[in-house]
């Protein structure tokens, strides 16, 4: 390892954005009037910006596009307004906390229901549930919420200081109150994003299947992100009521959710500050265009067009675009050192030690079957692998290898039969749970986290090993996870990607991506590694490199490998299992398999003496 820096980059988040936001918040009310903006508009921008912080964690960082955020804005807002206007409590802080709590509970309920379906459905379901809340507010709950009239009479905010309570009456005092809350909200959101928890959220956005396959409880992380967004929404709604002295029913409108999405996308999703910028543009443009004759009615059309253009051409939004240019400029200086493709460590692999077949099996399948309708993809396949063994599973195309493999890894549920790991049944467990036990799959088609660096990719997998399926460590730092750095560094070194650590995964050469793919599985420190065609698509040189790499890995753990290249199979495997048409037709040492007439017949596809009954 000559000259490659093995030092992880500084993970302490830069203070620059925090300082910039603080300075901006302080000077904003003094500069804004010169642009014909009022303090009231400035307050609103901050309220929407705060609302957007939570939404950005959900959408920009976790990749979940919700159309129902109005539900939480409204629920939090009406709770706070109801408590204060009805004089149930006189404490602003208490009322805001209550609003956030109600939003959180609602977030759990709507989240649990909406997250039952993913992708497009999630957007449709959140939209529907958001509307449901609007109708609830509007009709059945109207005696508390005022229905279409909303709730008037929300008193000005106050601030208990122990010895006295400050009433915030002046416009500037209210601005300061909201600005402080925004700053705290921004600081917290940043902490969440740079925490191990936040890293898993980004993994979910990048590749949800892989995030689960390396052992993270994807659903629970999504739910918590959803609740975080709901709490931010609840707080922002509460502030809206305080700011206006009145809680309007349109907080619950679909318009509210739409406005949040548009502001976030225009400003830049995944930047935290983007929604604030988007809100400033929206509210400022609204105010300015009202004055311009003939344009007042068209302001939303203009915003709509800008939105469509940005989605089509600059999906990162304004802040995202600026950051992109800035990072490129900075990267231009540092990029020069990154040289050619780093070769795989060519030290000879350790000599192969024969596994001890008398030991009880570490991984076992008993009569494992998978039916798709009438089709028998896998038909009563049994096999057992002992600790330390390298087992190849081969067979002609359509033999059921992949399905068999997916069942072992928990990606596909078996129709019947059992899977045992170290003697305990793991049938029916999901991929994340199985990975946490120590069985992990590497994919035939690269499943990486494309927009993250190589080091971040491996960190995501390593986090699953170090932290378990789920941990709400939202305020801790990644370098505080014990043993993480070593695991990441060792994994990088093991697949010879150390010099590529800071490259974006999508920028790697194909062979390097393939190694990263394997590294993602390795970083979960498995006891059994399931490799699905690790040399697929490789050149002969890359292939022999990979075989050497796999031999080194094989010295440390049990491997089950599906592979088409027979040279690779016979070089690596201690024993070989042959599947054909969903059934096991042979099993034995490579030499036996090579000379087995049934296997030859299956591969040649001709008439055989062996006819499945």
């Amino acid at each position: 390892m000559k000259g490659y820096s093995t030092q992880a980059p500084r993970r302490v988040p830069s203070l620059l954005p925090l300082i910039a936001v603080a300075v901006g918040l302080v000077i904003f009310p003094f500069v804004f009037p010169f642009l014909d903006g009022t303090i009231d508009v400035a307050d609103r921008i901050l309220v929407w910006g705060l609302f957007g912080l939570g939404f950005d964690i959900l959408f920009g960082y976790t990749g979940l596009l919700s159309f129902g955020q109005a539900a939480f804005f409204g629920a939090g807002g009406f709770t706070t307004a109801y408590l204060l206007a009805g004089n149930i409590t006189s404490s602003t802080i208490l009322a805001l906390l209550a609003g956030m709590a109600v939003a959180a509970v609602l977030g759990v309920i709507i989240g649990l229901l909406s997250l039952r379906r993913s992708g497009i459905y999630f957007a449709m379901l959140t939209l529907a549930f958001g509307e449901m809340l609007f109708f609830l507010e509007n009709s059945p709950l109207r005696q508390w919420t005022g229905g279409e009239n909303g709730l008037p009479g929300v008193p000005k905010p106050n601030l208990p200081l122990g010895f006295t309570t400050i009433e915030l009456h002046s416009a500037l005092a209210i601005y300061a109150f909201i600005a402080v809350l925004f700053f705290v909200g921004f600081w917290l959101a940043r902490r969440i994003i740079v925490s191990p928890f936040g890293m898993v959220l980004r993994a979910i956005r990048e590749n949800v299947e892989r995030a689960g396959a390396v052992g993270h409880d994807v659903l629970l992380y999504k739910l918590v992100a959803f609740v975080i967004a709901a709490v931010y929404g609840g707080l922002a709604g509460g502030l809206l009521g305080l700011l206006q002295g009145y809680m309007p029913p349109d907080a619950f409108y679909l318009e509210t959710s739409s406005q949040l999405i548009i502001q976030t996308v225009i400003g830049g999703a995944g930047t935290l500050i983007g929604p604030l910028v988007g809100a400033a543009i929206w509210l400022y443009l609204y105010q300015i265009l009202q004055i311009v004759p003939g344009l007042g009615g068209a302001w939303k059309l203009i915003l709509g067009l800008v939105f469509v253009i940005l989605v089509t051409g600059l999906r990162q939004g304004i802040v995202g675009g600026i950051l992109l240019v800035w990072r490129r400029r900075r990267a231009r200086g540092g990029q020069a050192e990154a040289g050619a493709v780093q070769p795989i460590d060519d030290a000879p692999p350790p000599p192969r030690v024969k596994p001890d077949y008398t030991k009880p099996p570490i991984l076992e399948a008993r009569d494992l079957s998978k039916h798709y309708g009438g089709l028998l993809a896998v038909d009563k396949v049994s096999f057992s692998v002992v600790e330390g063994e390298t087992r190849a599973v081969i067979g002609p195309n359509g033999a059921g290898k992949s399905t068999f493999f997916k069942m072992l890894a928990g990606a596909v549920q078996a129709t019947s039969g059992d899977i045992l790991f170290a003697g305990a049944p793991i049938t029916g467990l999901d991929a994340a749970r199985i990975c946490q036990l120590g069985v992990v799959r590497s994919f035939q088609i690269n499943q990486i986290f494309p927009h993250l660096t190589v080091r971040e990719n491996i960190t995501i997998a390593a986090l699953a090993r170090r932290r378990g399926k789920f941990r709400p460590d939202m305020l801790s730092r990644i370098d505080a996870v014990p043993g993480l750095d070593d695991l990441v560094r060792d994994t990088l070194a093991a697949v010879s990607l150390t010099a590529r650590g800071d490259r974006r995964a999508s920028d790697l050469a194909y062979g390097e991506k393939r190694r990263l793919e394997i590294a993602l599985a390795l970083a979960t420190s498995p006891r059994v590694l399931l490799l699905d065609e690790p040399t697929a698509g490789m050149s002969p040189a890359e292939r022999s490199d990979t075989v050497r790499l796999l031999k080194r890995i094989a010295a440390a753990m049990t491997i089950v490998i599906v592979e088409h290249d027979m040279d690779v199979v016979f070089e690596l495997a201690d024993r070989v299992t042959v599947l054909s048409e969903g059934r096991k037709i042979a099993e034995g040492e490579p030499v036996e398999i090579q000379n087995n007439p049934v296997v030859r017949a299956a591969y040649l596809g001709g008439e055989t003496e062996y006819e499945p009954a």
């Binding site: 990749g63 449709m124 549930f129 509307e131 609830l136 009615g297």
Partner: protein, 291 residues
């Protein structure tokens, strides 16, 4: 007090409302099923259909012409949108597809608002729709009975196209596996254009015939779009019979709840959706493996 006559009337109201929802949702679901795109501008297309029909009827006084021109205008807009914008989104992530159709909806709505203003308008019933019909237990507006008939005919026509023609076979194959259809050498691009146009037309046509029943305004599409989402979630995506079942369930849920507890009518609709999500997440006619 719930009487038999009232129950009968509400059941029929639910049927008419449900039938219209089936038609709009059918457009949404075949586009989703074939192209994999949830068209958030579907409600806006429905609204444009209503306006096109309104204008045509105003100038020609012929409802037949209004129906034809309304459907034609929306078909044309659908084709332009698919060629000009949507097509470039087939390979992009679903979030981008949602965002762009959502932005498109805003643009379409605001253009209509600029042209026609925000006030709501009303299309008169056609002459052949005036009066009432005796349905045994009650007298019912003739036009609504006719709407039920027209929608049924259109749905039968759609069914025949989807299940009895070669194009329909391609569309259904495309729902199963678009890549495979492409590999087989079928021009998916043209099929996609056709499907998008057909889906848009279904929405536009529904807008025309619903215009005499509801008021016409630029924001009329959003509630329909949301109800269609509910229909699709209940029925299962990409399924003809799912859309039919979901639409009728939604229509009757709204109508019957209005009778006993009007405050809860809309809420019940979403509650029904939540119930389906819990007991059968893939929808009544949905296939489990398709996400």
């Amino acid at each position: 007090m719930v009487t038999w006559a009232l129950l009968w009337a509400q059941l029929f109201n639910g049927l008419v409302l449900g039938a219209l929802l089936v038609l709009v949702a059918m457009g949404l679901t075949i586009v989703f099923g074939t192209l994999g795109i949830v068209n958030f501008a579907h409600g806006a297309l429905y609204m444009i259909g209503a306006y096109a029909g309104y204008v045509a009827f105003l100038h020609t006084q012929s409802f037949i012409l209004a129906m034809v021109s309304g459907a034609a205008v929306v078909l044309l807009i659908g084709v332009i949108l698919e060629r000009g914008l949507i097509r470039h989104y087939y390979a992009r992530p679903p979030e981008d597809q949602i965002l762009v159709t959502f932005g498109l909806a805003i643009v379409l709505i605001e253009i209509v608002r600029l042209i026609f203003g925000g006030i709501s308008r009303r299309t008169d019933e056609p002459i052949w729709g005036n009066g009432v019909v005796n349905l045994g237990l009650l007298y019912y507006p003739r036009y609504q009975v006719e709407v039920l008939g027209i929608v049924t005919l259109v749905l039968i026509a759609l069914y025949l196209v989807l299940y009895r023609t070669k194009i329909g076979l391609i569309v259904r194959a495309g729902i199963e596996d678009p890549l495979m259809v492409n590999i087989l050498g079928i021009n998916v691009t043209r099929t996609f254009l056709l499907v998008f146009g057909l889906g848009a037309m279904a929405a536009g046509f529904a807008g025309v015939i619903n215009a005499p029943i509801v008021s016409v305004d630029p924001d009329m599409g959003a509630p329909i779009l949301i109800q269609c989402f509910v229909v699709i979630v209940i029925g299962g995506v990409g399924s003809f019979w799912g859309a039919v079942a979901g639409g009728l369930i939604a229509g009757e849920t709204l109508s019957l709840t209005t009778m006993v507890a009007p405050d809860y009518a809309q809420v019940m609709l979403f509650a029904a959706m939540a119930f389906i999500l819990i007991v059968r997440p893939q929808g009544l006619f949905g296939v489990k493996t398709r996400q």
